[in-house]
Symmetry: C2
């Protein structure tokens, strides 16, 4: 059961003029579930992509990166579950390329207009024929209203589809931003087994789209972790169809720049937090906030150490205020500015460590009550500077082990 | 149930002339279990200490480090379980100092001749009076034959005591090396919630003891991980009573230098591996060997990434050859020399990845058989150099979560 997250209402997910979507059953790994999706962009659309930093990046990630180098006007995104096409060498790369070529022929576009995405088991070859055999079917099913359907078709161990829309006001016209994502394990900053696609009809240049992309990723998808494992296939895509009547946003000084950036960040944050709320085996949604550090990076390092500690995560699962484990995790962060005699730590506002030691008014009864809640806020005050950073994670439960021990079965 | 590890036979654990030990019930956390131990060294003994790199190092660690600076001739080690005396600020430090002073008075030695050690729950104050009240009792119980008894008294979540002895031949006399250790969770390189004490009667200078210490720790206690969490209290102590008749070892060119180093390494390796075999919830003993890397450090980084990946560890627990997760873990190591198109990986000798892709003769039936074994050897051949490194870890099971969720209860 995800923590405070329900399946989105179809009425809340808005169409984006210029983007059509479809998904079909290709039988890649399971029968009778939709596992192949297409996102089609009208001519004139621009795209920006950010990808995993794992050195074993999957074949489709390599192809995406090559195709984005060939130009930023893209026409189609093809996404399959059931096989990650990772650890598949040159054969995997050739397979991904062949799929793009065949789809390009069907769509009467260039192969480099296509971006391929795969998620599923690593070290398995992708069934090219099963995929190609569904292209006619896929293209016939395209519709602007299929965002939620595709959000469902790209799920792996996710228990609910993840989708979110917002509307922003620009000078001339309201603009839509809609996004979908998948991911629930192998989740760690720098892109996790995570796919996210966010589209807008805004009129915006590719260079500004790309700039906004890098600005919003740091505190959204790069600030979450389920298990500290970075996947081979992570991809996060922004798409703009340029069909709205707003004045072209082509400069960061433009009036609508901050407005659209906030809109993208709202959608990206919602989707990133949804991944954590639906994290494998998660029973709690944990927000770790580190404040008053010397640098933002120092704050993030500490937040990451806490969020990656199995001992902290099992204590949170057990609702046991074994809070010393949090101090131990802080002490493991590789930062030189830490002064342990200054560190204060709060659990949902309740001080339990003051100046690196047990808080004088610490009350375990109260801590017990807070630990039982499903929404946990840990705040670490370093008291050595003015920077801050937030990170979101899950607890570590029996079900995490169960899900991951049984994933392939 | 530990993996391939039994309680040591009392006859196999040898006395070390010049070292006496005792343990008693002080009721620190639990009634009716021995939780306070004393290791007494004859005058003339030398000691070397290595400690946690966690910045929240516990009060007893700080005291040990101060006392070792005051001189390397030590007389007594005092060890308690039930409270780590970590995250306890200046009050914790004063408590540890008071305990040393009181024990020094009882033993008619200086306070800085005492080294204190604590293990247990972090962020709890240590009950000074309960501990001091047992000193007479402790001193009366001292005997050379109590190594195994103390190995039992220092356990926390350990399921079996860890002790090992070896005899080495020097020119003049056979020398004894006996060691004990504890630890089973919060275990990660750079000293884990781990205490280890190894003693010998060898005639050896403190500077050479200290040199050997640094040489043997890297591939023993710093090459193991249960959960990647480094504790606040880790301590690893070598003691030499200098009572044997071997020619003083005071130079690394000395004839017996390599012999005694190998003896210490044998004991340290056995104790380190015992911690993994008894790792919290462990059902498998996993040896990760990375060969033909550019530097030893590169090899160790990759071995650590594999051993810290919850996805690899849950797949090993499930005996599911979801081996792509190992490639993903390798790809997450932050080393620049990696060439993914060269990487070969073997599971108990069975090749499953060749040149970064699925091995051409990979046979999942055979992989299934190997995955079911309790002793797993993963070998990664980087094929870019001639360095190598080994690392030992456990799988991640339901019981790991259970033990850590319930530790304080």
């Amino acid at each position: 059961m995800p923590v405070g997250l329900k399946k989105p209402e179809v009425n809340n997910i808005l169409n984006v003029p210029g983007i059509k979507l479809a998904s079909v059953k290709a039988g890649i790994k399971y029968k009778d579930r939709k596992d192949l999706s297409l996102i089609m962009l009208d001519e004139g659309s621009v795209v920006s992509g950010l990808f995993t930093k794992n050195k074993f990046r999957a074949a489709p990630v390599q192809v995406c990166q090559n195709h984005l180098k060939a130009g930023s006007h893209k026409r189609a995104l093809l996404i399959n579950t059931g096989s990650a096409n990772a650890g598949t060498g040159s054969e995997g790369f050739d397979n991904a390329m062949q799929i793009c070529s065949e789809l390009a022929t069907n769509l009467k576009v260039q192969a480099h207009d296509i971006l391929p995405f795969s998620t599923g088991v690593i070290l398995t070859h992708i069934p090219v024929n099963k995929i190609v055999g569904q292209f006619t079917n896929l293209i016939e099913s395209l519709a602007e209203s299929h965002w939620l359907e595709v959000a469902e078709a790209i799920m792996t161990t996710d228990t609910v589809p993840k989708a979110y829309s917002t509307k922003i006001k620009t000078e001339n016209e309201d603009i839509v931003i809609t996004g979908i994502s998948k991911g629930s394990g192998m989740i760690c900053p720098n892109m996790a087994t995570m796919l996210a696609f966010i589209g807008t009809n805004a009129n915006i240049s590719q260079s500004i789209l790309s700039r906004i992309h890098k600005e919003i990723v740091e505190d959204s998808f790069n600030a979450i972790s389920v298990d500290g494992d970075t996947s081979t296939n992570d991809s996060f895509i922004l798409m703009a169809t340029n069909q709205a009547q707003n004045k072209l946003i082509s400069n960061e000084g433009d009036k609508d720049y901050e407005i659209i950036k906030e809109g993208f960040f709202e959608v990206a944050s919602y989707l990133a937090h949804s991944i954590i709320r639906d994290g494998e085996g998660a029973t709690k949604f944990i927000h770790i906030e580190v404040i008053n550090g010397k640098t933002k990076n120092d704050c993030k390092e500490i937040a990451k150490k806490i969020s990656h500690s199995p001992l902290v995560k099992t204590a949170l699962f057990a609702s046991d205020p074994n809070l010393g484990r949090i101090l131990a995790a802080i002490g493991n962060a590789d930062i030189s500015s830490l002064l342990i005699d200054k560190v204060d730590v709060y659990l949902n506002g309740l001080p339990f460590a003051q100046n690196g030691s047990i808080a004088s008014n610490y009350d375990e009864e109260l801590a017990n009550i807070e630990m039982k809640k499903t929404e946990i806020h840990l705040k670490v005050d370093l008291k050595i500077g003015s920077e801050h950073s937030s990170f979101w994670t899950t607890d570590l439960s029996y079900d995490y082990v169960k899900i991951n021990a049984e994933y392939r079965s």
